[in-house]
């Protein structure tokens, strides 16, 4: 009996490593190694034809300079669209998350379910639906024309606002839910205490709710900003050639033009800017735990 117990304990020393090994090996090969491939490609120079591109590794840092100089507009546009989308998501999501956390009572589960429900429809099909809604002959455009908010030849589709609107719609759920989680954790007695101490409602909001919801603001902002800055579907479906983002360029360079080094360099630039942004943002908000 004692012998069995000891051998069991000895086995359990290597057991966890055996359990994590397959997954880590898989992610090593298909997540870490691909980034080396990407880096190597970004430093190669391309030759050959479009049909048979050949790559030679040559420490060609020029690809990075080219990425910046050729696609500066798209880089700036991606991050400004993503930034605006993140801010609007925050403004729209806060009231809803607040009501779910504090005012929904027994309807809390129902409303949470409703928030998640639209995301069971394929992302692309939801974006196509926005194409219908914002169409030139759609009722939204006619309504805006009628009340004079949009000039008679004005359009919604193919504008920056349509693209930003699509980004907002597609990622707002990832702002609502983390915000809700952090608001849900707030002890309602804190609010009552601040009220008993004669704080006004706006002051309670600023001094109690806002600081305590910061983890949600942080998580939500990153969950919106990261995918939005790399997206190319919204710009493709709802925008025009004037609204292309980095994602569109990466996609086109890789799959249509087949200029692999330029596309790889641009992907790594996108990744690096996001990492720096996330780092600065977490520093500024003063919290270390990301997820």
């Amino acid at each position: 009996m004692a012998g069995a117990a000891t051998s069991n304990r000895q086995r359990s020393k290597i057991a966890p490593y055996l359990m994590i090994l397959p997954a880590l090996a898989y992610l090593g090969i298909f997540f870490v190694v691909p980034f080396f491939s990407l880096a190597r490609t970004s430093l190669s120079s391309s030759g050959g034809s479009v049909y048979l591109p050949t790559l030679t590794f040559s420490w060609d840092f020029g690809n990075y300079l080219d990425a910046f100089s050729h696609f500066r507009d798209q880089i700036i546009r991606s991050f400004s669209y993503a930034l605006v989308a993140t801010l609007v998501c925050l403004l729209l999501a806060f009231p809803l998350a607040y009501v779910i956390a504090f005012k929904a009572g027994r309807y809390k589960n129902l409303i949470l379910g409703l928030v998640i429900l639209p995301f069971f429809v394929t992302f692309l099909i939801r974006t196509i639906a926005w194409k219908t809604i914002l169409a030139d002959d759609g009722w939204v455009v006619s309504a805006l024309n009628a009340i004079g908010l949009l000039p008679s030849e004005g359009r919604l589709l193919s504008t920056s606002w349509a693209v930003i609107g699509g980004l907002i719609y597609n990622w707002i759920i990832f702002m609502i839910l983390p915000l809700y989680v952090s608001l849900e954790k707030i002890d309602p007695r804190l609010l009552e205490a601040s009220k008993d101490l004669y704080s006004t409602a706006p002051r309670s909001f600023r001094k109690v709710i806002l600081p305590l919801s910061m983890p949600g603001v942080l998580a939500g902002s990153m969950l919106v900003f990261i995918p939005a800055s790399g997206d190319f579907i919204n710009a493709d479906y709802l925008g025009s050639t004037q609204t292309t983002m980095i994602g569109n360029v990466i996609q086109k360079q890789f799959l249509v033009v087949k200029d692999y080094p330029a596309a790889a360099a641009l992907s790594l630039v996108l990744m690096a800017i996001i990492l720096v942004g996330v780092l600065l943002y977490t520093r500024a908000l003063g919290t270390e735990d990301l997820v």
Binding site: F102, V115, L290
Partner: protein
Amino acid sequence: MTSQGLPAVIEAVEAPRTPKTVRGGRKWGDVLLRIVAGLVLLYLFVPIFVIILFSFNHPAGKFNYSWQGFTLDNWAHPFKYPALTEALKLSLNVAAVSTAIALVLGTLVAIALVRQRFRGSKAVDTFLVLPLTAPEVVMGAALLTLFLDFNWAAGYTTIVVAHIAFEISFIAMTVRARMRGFDWTLEDASMDLGASPTRTFFKVTLPLIVPGIVAAAMLSFALSLDDFIITYFVSGSTVTYPLYVNAAVKAAVPPQINVLATAILVISLVLLGVGTLYRRKRIEA
């Protein structure tokens, strides 16, 4: 849905609900707040209404973008376009195969992280989050360069391989979230009563973690079915359901796309309902 956000969805759904009513400050402010929240909720549903409505549309041209007239034809012939049906079948296949493999790998990691203390578990934790922080377009691009480097022909296999890569982290994190807070002394009790470790695993541990595994599997399946960006990079000429939809936007959008999207929505709703009822029953029992 994108893989980055899914842990947030899990956390929100799993968060313990404390019933609380907070008295509003001024009445008007409270009413205004509720109205804004209601409008935001409504906004989330606008495209969904449009998708369902246009599944009954009788489009005049190739594109199902403007309302022409009501018809039940599309619902009577949901599988009218073989290419669409084939693409959907392929996506279901990819989702099932990749989820099955990722489920084994991800669950093993989750169990090791929750149940075992070992050196480096913190590092493993951090490492698992990484795939969820890379934008999908970068992950797709990175995988494409890997397959190019090794001369792997893009197609079914590369799609499955890529899907497993983004599913593992997500499954590990979901299962782990579900396993926290369980009463693990039950395992010791089982061993003290003379059950072998193997027997304990099958009779005690597994039944405890199965609901978490099922939830992770369903979400991973949905994630795979919906993935467009990563698949787009590694698919070659193979066409999955989202890829078919994307090609349709450029050429012709049949209303059957809306019919199948609505059907998938209804099926997910039913599964969700059944799952909730099942959980409630278990809690009551």
